[in-house]
Symmetry: D2
């Protein structure tokens, strides 16, 4: 008699998980579409205070319940998980309610609008053994997955510098500055690709609000990398040109990700400066120990898949396997910690500000 | 009897000025070639401690004297001016010697390797009524001249942000960091194009030396602009890609100078974000007061001329007209002041450092 | 009593026209979506031999009838017009059936798979006073509309040369060559932007089938423009790089449309070569009469709108106003005429082939 | 007693060859500079009818004779070789005179202004055992050398298509059309990189002279490649944008050379369309046999060297080794043969014209 192996049991498809999308505004429809299309998921409900908006989104996906509040959802629809795509200041309340009702939770970035709130969310999920996942969508794009792989397998060597630029004519927002609006993308990507995650001891941030909108519209943030390198992030709502570019300079190779160049998104340069390792003593620090490498450029082919599809699949996998998601609540919290330090530094005229919370490093959260 | 008009007198060419080029290394040959070709100048001597090197450069230009030292030059050759293209730490000594001998002086960037030395040089020239000019070559390129004009005539409006990037696989140098090597270009350009010159109250600098060369190889510096905007300069010796780009974001238009794109060096974008001027009170700071402008892009044709030729012509004009040069010693000093503050900030782990010397604002130096 | 002015009468919305989309494959869903969204139209039915495919598309748009054949459509659903998005060889049969049933007809490009068939379709529509429109979608993009305007208002001057490149890794097709697959786009655009439409006397075509697929996969076609200039079209299924670029060189300015550069789709160069007009006699043809113009580059802002939306609006307008559509059946026929000549030239090893059908120039078809 | 090995004898530098540069106009100075710098050569004389112009060029290079005519050169200066950089219509006369005087000859492109003249030059050199070399400079650039290598070693597979574009605002010339001015570059490159050299049976050319200058200013030429592929060359004097690009599409990989992109001159795409080789029968020609390959892109690092330096070195080597130069007179003749066919095709309104002279294939000339 054949006994199923553990693997084949894992392979056997369990029944789809039931999920509700909370928030039918800008991002909710994308989540709904991807949950609908995923074999792992059954889209069970759309929730929005604007019930008409919820109903319209639900109608596009067939037999889906419509709720006007989270309370109504929890009272009337049986779901395993919720996906929160509401304004940032509401994430904390909704997530805690859902977690306390035993639901797994996916949260749109940023995890919350304050580190303390995020910490409470992570702790609640941890206590209850539920998955709390941050929707760091970029981390599921083929480009970022490839970058992570190239760093992890040593192709780039040690990281010497990182430069992330995310600028365009952006929607100036009344209640959030350009750091909190755009930098979560950059920071969540860095958290994902850096071997130890995003754990700077302190950050410096410089911003400007030259139009007098009440919030910084242009910003630069820098922090030291372990190993002596540095990272810089430039976010800007006022630029008429659109740039989304990440450079990861390594001791072996340097990688450039130009997200707006579909014909050559990733370029890996086998060019650089080297210092003879044996002469790294102060006495030997001389130009003569420096050499230059002029090698080929390589642009790896990337598979075509939609990042959100991978993300909802990971949400399901992490629930089934009872493990933290790849972009876990803890990852979202690390991003929040840096954002709070950014605000502190901004408030202190650019003086470096300590990043709190690196003490909070749950076992297994990455 | 015909009386010469004032104009024709001005038009009458005076006898060419006689100049010696000091330093026959990397930059000296460029200066020699341009002085040789200029109608205003007579190239009288080449000076280099390596007399053979001086002789070789002299030979390429016909009847030119060769000297092994500045002393020998002053003793044996009759010159009106000297052009100093030696290492930065020697500028101060050579310039003072020449000024004290009554010579006008052109100095390669940076003006000196310390602000105090530059100050002494400027004071000496001022006292003696001699021209002390900084060779800020970029300020004589067609692109920078056009940028200055577009800012001065209001085409860009108020300056909201500046982003200057100068990165490539650079010659890592043993005795100077990447800020002192590359940023003088960016800072001298900013000094030239900003209506009031380069006068930040303080700057923040963040650098890294991930290869352990003894000096920062990657650097970011930021400072506030008058009017609420901010400037950022990125210099980097470790980048396998070469970028030389300046963005000047204005309230009316935004300009991008891409020096490595000969087919479209300057682009002026009539696109941007505006805040209704009348609602700039705190109470009215609302997204509703913000509007977006989506206009044309324009790339002005630029004349073709060599910057160094314009620069040596300006040196002659400033001598004849007994006025400060466009890129005066004072301009060089403003650049030095910022560089010293950069070093202070770097030494203070990125804390903002005050820029000294803004008290030194000679009449007429700009 | 108020009498409605002519304008307000025009403004009064008539009842929407009822349309069926025939063909639920690749393009049909795009047509359906745009008819559904248009105030001028009511999407009444989806027709496909694969009834399940039709039903799926219909379901996405609410209350829409499903038919398995054109016959069934005409027998059971009341429509004013049909939009045909089926394979090219079926256009003729379906269009004639629909026209004979009194329906206005929109046809996917190319109008038919042979000129004679297209001619019959145009004649049938003409006889019956019905609109026969070619879905030359590109002609409704903001870029092409702007190009047409710049040519019509004389901004470019006389057209000296045209170069249209449409290459990428294409779907090699078993029953059509690269000219019939891709060149209809280029030819329909040229028909739209050239003041007199696309009416070359003859064309030369050169193609290759280096993989032995049975059809040309790489092709170049050239023809003379009235006025002495020439046009060239390059189509290619085998290119790993994707280029969609049209250059229109004019005696006053030259325009480049790079459809894959969203940040600067259109560039207008005020640069060029001029010949002194008064010296255009043979005796005076000398280099000395030639001058060069080095002016600015200008990139006009383009409005954002979906081309298909404009196209279906034009279909409605042409029906209401009882006039030929901007991309009329006659325009489609001109494209077919050139394609047939291309095939003739290809069959004659590249010898120029006459374009028939320029005798067929219906009044008012443009 | 040590006996020198054959190798060391070969290595022993022979005395430099003595060369005269004939023509001190645009290109002559470049040749003079490179001969002067080459260890293999001694620059012995400059020849120009404008003796002052010759003298000026000679003066820049030290002890070099000045002649006003080829006759004077041959009578008064002892040279091994001459380099001809005069107008094309004078090449034949000067070259024959020099060859008959026993001199090796390097000729600026094109070899002559008519195929018959070129043939006579090649025959004369052949008879006398002298080197006749065409200055196909591009063939000595790192990029073209690499392209030749990638084709020769099978990296690209079989060549499916070639597209060469050379357009910019060019100097419209009174006595030559755009094909004879620009296409020699493209054709000499193709001759160099195609495994069998440039030997089309016939070519088609289409040109236009929309300004009425008397010569074609815009041109397209096409011809079939052995193996079923095709080549296309676009030359244009009227384009405000400058493009110098060669695409070589292969069955295994496709190469793009963008000569104006110094940061990525060569790109090799491992992307393409394949046809299952075993199904290349007519019966099996189906889309199902076609597959698509989506691989990486690779940009090889290229060494930095000046092409002209390599070219003059090859001239010396071919003389010493008594072998045809890599860009031999026969290569120049093949280019001429195609250019004459181009003119024939142009004169026949674009009908394909046979390329004569493929019967003339000297042993060992490639």
């Amino acid at each position: 008699m054949a006994i199923p192996s553990e693997e084949s049991e894992l392979m056997a498809s369990p029944a789809p998980l039931r999920v509700a999308v909370i928030g039918a505004g800008y991002w909710g429809p994308n989540l709904a579409r991807n949950f609908k299309a995923a074999p792992d998921w059954e889209l069970a409900a759309i929730v929005d205070m604007d019930r008409a908006r919820a109903a319209k989104l639900a109608a596009a996906h067939g037999d889906v319940a419509v709720c006007g509040s989270v309370r109504e959802l929890l009272d009337t629809v049986d779901v395993d998980a919720v996906a929160i795509a509401t304004p940032a200041h509401t994430h904390h309340g909704i997530a805690l309610t859902a977690l306390r009702a035993g639901k797994h939770v996916l949260v749109e970035k940023p995890l919350a609008d304050a580190r303390a709130k995020g910490l409470e969310m992570v702790a609640e999920a941890e206590t209850r053994g539920l998955v709390l996942m941050a929707d760091h969508t970029y981390c599921y794009t083929p480009a970022v997955l490839k970058i992570r792989e190239l760093i992890a397998d040593g192709s780039l060597g040690e990281i010497l510098f990182i430069d992330s630029v995310r600028i365009n004519l952006g929607l100036v927002q009344p209640d959030v500055d350009v750091f909190w609006d755009l930098a979560p993308h950059d920071l969540s990507i860095l958290d994902f690709i850096l071997p130890g995650g995003l754990r700077p001891a302190e950050v410096s941030a410089h911003g400007a609000d030259p139009l007098g909108t009440g919030n910084a519209c242009v910003g630069h943030l820098t922090f030291a990398l372990s190993g002596g390198g540095m990272a810089h992030v430039h976010v800007n709502w006022l630029s008429p040109t659109k740039i989304r570019q990440l450079v990861v300079g390594g001791s072996r190779r340097t990688l450039v990700w130009d997200d707006l160049n579909p014909q050559q998104r990733l370029s890996v340069y086998d060019r650089g400066v080297s210092l003879d390792a044996q002469s790294r003593s102060a006495a030997e620090r001389k130009a003569s120990a420096i050499s230059y490498r002029l090698g080929d450029t390589w642009s790896p082919a990337l598979p075509e898949h939609e990042a959100l599809g991978q993300m909802v699949a990971e949400f399901a996998s992490s629930i089934w396997q009872q493990r933290p998601a790849r972009t876990s609540g803890a990852a979202g919290l690390r991003v929040l910690s840096v954002l709070e330090a950014v605000s502190s530094s901004l408030g202190a005229a650019g003086r470096p500000a300590a990043v709190t919370g690196n003490e909070f490093q749950l076992e297994g959260t990455r």
